[in-house]
C-alpha cells in the first residue's frame, strides 16, 4: 500500500521532507518510525490524516502520516 510520509523540523535532516512510500498492508506507525531511524523517544507529534495518532496504530492505503519531534512556540 502507498502511504505519504511527511517529516518536519530536525527529522528532515539527512532524510526527506515528503515521500510516497510503499509498505505491507496494516504496517504500524511505529514500524515506519523505526525504519526511518527515528528514535521513538524523540517523536513528539504523530498526525495521521490530520488526527493525533499513536505508534501502535496501523496504516491504510492512501494515508497521510506526519511525524514531528517535540516542538513548541506561541
Amino acid at each position: 500500500m502507498k502511504v505519504t510520509v511527511k517529516l518536519f523540523a530536525s527529522f528532515q535532516t539527512g532524510r526527506f521532507k515528503i515521500e510516497i512510500r510503499d509498505y505491507p498492508d496494516q504496517t504500524l506507525i511505529g514500524t515506519v518510525v523505526r525504519e526511518l531511524n527515528i528514535p521513538e523517544g524523540e517523536v513528539g507529534i504523530l498526525l495521521l490524516n490530520a488526527v493525533h495518532a499513536k505508534l501502535e496504530q496501523p496504516l491504510n492505503e492512501g494515508d497521510l502520516l506526519a511525524i514531528f519531534p517535540l516542538v513548541g512556540g506561541g
Binding site: K6, G44, I45, A50, F68, L70, V71, G72, G73, G74
Partner: protein, 580 residues
C-alpha cells in the same frame, strides 16, 4: 525595586514627577503589579484615551537579577482596543534595565495640555521629562537612530511609532533588543495609543552605575538558576526546537493538524504553508547570512528569535514570529516570506501589533479592499495607508473589529474586539476557551492550551473535543498570569510543564531571591488573585458573561478538513472562573 516613579502629565506648569516607596509591589512584578495598580487607580468606566487612564510599566519579579531569561516587561492600562484591562508584555532590554535602576513600576497619569511631545530619560541619578518636538511623526527605526546619537548605545529604549502618536488602537510600544533595534513590542490591546495620548514618544532607560539586584539567599538562588537553565536546555522544545526554528516551527504543525486558520478562518489548511514554515524560514535566514538563533534580550537561554536579511544580505527585520507569519501569511493567502518579513518590518516601524494588523488586512481582503494573496497590496496598505495615517489607514489601524464594520464583513475573528491569533478554535478547542474567557480579549498566550491539545507538552487533551478544555484553560490561565508576573519568558512553560524538577527550580529561584519559601500553591494563589481583580475591573467596565464568547460563526460554520464547530457550551465557558 524599592520605588515607584509617578509622572503626572496633567500638572500645571508641565509634567511633575514624584517617587514613592514600592510597598507591596517591592516583591511583586510584571502583570501582578500592572493589573493591581490599574485596578486600584483607574476608573473602569473611563475613556481609555482620557486623563483618567494610566500607563503602568513594570519589570518582572526576577528582572534585573542574574536569573536566566527574566527580561519580560509588562505594560498595563485600560485597553482602547478591548475597553477592558490590559497587560501586554515584551522582551527586549527594558525590563532588566528598569529593574536594575530600582523601579518596581512607572505610573504615567493625566494628559498634558497642548501639542508638545515629550521624552523621559531615566538614569541612576535623575528622571528628566522634556519636550522634544523634533521626534514628532518619526517611526520607530528612524526615531531610535536619532535617539542613539543623543543617548549612546548603552541604554534601552521604549517608544511609539506614528501609529501610537495617531492614537490607533492597534498601536504597540516598542522595546529595543540588545542591538538597539525596536523589534520587541508590547503589541496587544493598543497600549501604544495610551502612551501616545499622554504625548510620550520615548522612554530612555540608562542603568550605568547600577548592578544586578542581589538575592536574599545567594546560594539557593545560584543553585536554582543553574538547575533552571539545565532544565530549559535539556527539554527538546526549549533546548532544540525553538532555538533552531523559532516559533514558526508551528506553521507546519498547525497546518498538518488542520487548525491553521486560512483566508480569514475559512479553512484549516493552507496549501502553501510549507513555503512559509519555520523550516523554510531558518534555511533562508542562514543562506542569506542572517541568524536563525538570536535572543531578544541578554540572558535569554532559549533564543527563539533570529535575524532576517533581504535578498542582498542586508538586515530587513528580526525573524518574524509564528503569529506574524500567520497573520500576514496564511490568514491573507500570502505565501512569500519576503513579503511577510517586509510587513513585519513596517509593523515594527510604524508601531502596530502584528496580529491585529495582519488580521485586519485579512478582514479587509474579505471585504473586497484588496484580493486575498495580494502581496503588494498588503504592503501598500500597511506602509502607505496605516503608516501615513490616511482615512483607510486609520480604519485598518483601528483593528480587525473596526475594519470588519467598515467593510460589511460578517466573519470577523475577534473576542472583546481583539483579533484572534493563529489557532482555529474549531480544531484546537482548548485555545477557543482561552480566547473566549481571557480578561485580555482573544489572546493565545493567556492560557496556551495548544501545548496540551496539539503539541502534547504538559499532558494530552484531545483538541477536537470540548471535554476537559475548560479545566485545562483555567489551569493554564492561572499559571500564566503568575509567570507573566515573574518577568520570565512564557516559553519556560514547556520545560516546567513536563519536568517537575524544573518547576521546582523556578520556585527555588523565586524563593531564593526573596528569601521566602515558595510552593506551587503560592503560584496558583497569585494567578487567581490577579485574574480575579482583572475580572472585577472588566465587570466595572461593563463586561458580562455574554462577552466571554467566541464570534457566532465558530458555532455555525464548519471548518474543513475536520468539519467541526466549536463545541464548548456557553454554560461551560461560564464555569471558567470557578474560584471566586
Amino acid at each position: 525595586m524599592d520605588k515607584i516613579l509617578r509622572i503626572d502629565m496633567s500638572a500645571t506648569g508641565g509634567p511633575q514627577q514624584s517617587t514613592e516607596k514600592a510597598g507591596e509591589f517591592a516583591a511583586l512584578g510584571g502583570r501582578a503589579t500592572t493589573s493591581t495598580i490599574v485596578a486600584k487607580e483607574v476608573p473602569p468606566d473611563c475613556h481609555p484615551l482620557s486623563a483618567e487612564n494610566k500607563l503602568v510599566i513594570a519589570p518582572g519579579m526576577l528582572s534585573g537579577t542574574a536569573a536566566a531569561i527574566s527580561g519580560r516587561i509588562s505594560v498595563g492600562c485600560k485597553s482602547p482596543l478591548t475597553g477592558g484591562i490590559k497587560e501586554s508584555n515584551a522582551g527586549g532590554q527594558a525590563a532588566q534595565v528598569l529593574a536594575r535602576l530600582g523601579y518596581a513600576a512607572i505610573i504615567i497619569e493625566g494628559l498634558p495640555e497642548g501639542d508638545d511631545l515629550y521624552k523621559i530619560h531615566i538614569n541612576k541619578d535623575r528622571v528628566e521629562i522634556s519636550v522634544d518636538n523634533s521626534n514628532k511623526l518619526l517611526d520607530n527605526y528612524p526615531l531610535i537612530d536619532k535617539l542613539r546619537k543623543e543617548y549612546g548605545d548603552k541604554v534601552a529604549f521604549m517608544s511609539i511609532g506614528t501609529a501610537g502618536e495617531r492614537l490607533m488602537v492597534s498601536a504597540s510600544i516598542a522595546c529595543t533588543d540588545p542591538e538597539l533595534r525596536p523589534t520587541r513590542h508590547c503589541g496587544r490591546g493598543g497600549v501604544g495609543a495610551v502612551m501616545g495620548s499622554k504625548k510620550i514618544k520615548a522612554i530612555i532607560l540608562d542603568d550605568a552605575g547600577c548592578t544586578n539586584r542581589p538575592p536574599r539567599d545567594a546560594e539557593r538562588f545560584k543553585t536554582a538558576n543553574r538547575a533552571f537553565v539545565e532544565g530549559i536546555r535539556k527539554h527538546p522544545v526549549s533546548g532544540e526546537g525553538l532555538p533552531a526554528y523559532g516559533t514558526n516551527v508551528l506553521t507546519n504543525v498547525l497546518n498538518e493538524a488542520g487548525g491553521y486558520p486560512t483566508r480569514n478562518f475559512k479553512t484549516g489548511q493552507f496549501e502553501d504553508a510549507s513555503k512559509i514554515s519555520g523550516e523554510s524560514q531558518a534555511e533562508l535566514e542562514i543562506a542569506r547570512g542572517g541568524k536563525a538563533t538570536h535572543g531578544c534580550h541578554r540572558g535569554c537561554v532559549i533564543q527563539c528569535s533570529g535575524i532576517y536579511n533581504d535578498k542582498d544580505g542586508k538586515f530587513l527585520t528580526k525573524q518574524p514570529e509564528y503569529e506574524t507569519v500567520w497573520s500576514h501569511g496564511g490568514h491573507c493567502g500570502i505565501s512569500d516570506l519576503d513579503t511577510i518579513a517586509t510587513l513585519d518590518y513596517w509593523d515594527d516601524n510604524i508601531g502596530v501589533d502584528t496580529i491585529e494588523m495582519g488580521v485586519a488586512i485579512g478582514v479587509a481582503m474579505e471585504g473586497g479592499v484588496i484580493e486575498f494573496g495580494d502581496d503588494e497590496g498588503a504592503i501598500r496598505l500597511v506602509r502607505d495607508e496605516v503608516g501615513k495615517g490616511t482615512p483607510l489607514g486609520r480604519i485598518l489601524g483601528g483593528g480587525a473589529g473596526m475594519t470588519g464594520k467598515a467593510f460589511g464583513v460578517t466573519r470577523v475573528p475577534v473576542v472583546k474586539n481583539q483579533a484572534l491569533p493563529a489557532y482555529d478554535p474549531r480544531t484546537v478547542q482548548g485555545i477557543g476557551v482561552t480566547y473566549a474567557t481571557s480578561t485580555q480579549g482573544a489572546d493565545h498566550t493567556a492560557g496556551y492550551a495548544v501545548a496540551t491539545n496539539i503539541l502534547k507538552v504538559g499532558g494530552d487533551v484531545d483538541p477536537l473535543k470540548p471535554e476537559g478544555q475548560v479545566e485545562l484553560s483555567r489551569n493554564l490561565q492561572i499559571a500564566t498570569t503568575a509567570i507573566d508576573s515573574t518577568g520570565l519568558c512564557l516559553f519556560i512553560a514547556f520545560p516546567i510543564l513536563d519536568q517537575p524538577e524544573t518547576f521546582q527550580s523556578l520556585l527555588d529561584l523565586l524563593g531564593g531571591f526573596y528569601g521566602i519559601e515558595m510552593t506551587g500553591d503560592d503560584i496558583v494563589a497569585l494567578g487567581q488573585k490577579v485574574l480575579t481583580l482583572e475580572r472585577e475591573f472588566n465587570k466595572g467596565a461593563g463586561f458580562g458573561p455574554e462577552d466571554d464568547r467566541l464570534p457566532r460563526f465558530f458555532q455555525t460554520e464548519k471548518l474543513p478538513p475536520h468539519n467541526l464547530t466549536f463545541g464548548v457550551t456557553d454554560a461551560e465557558l461560564d464555569q471558567l472562573y470557578n474560584w471566586d
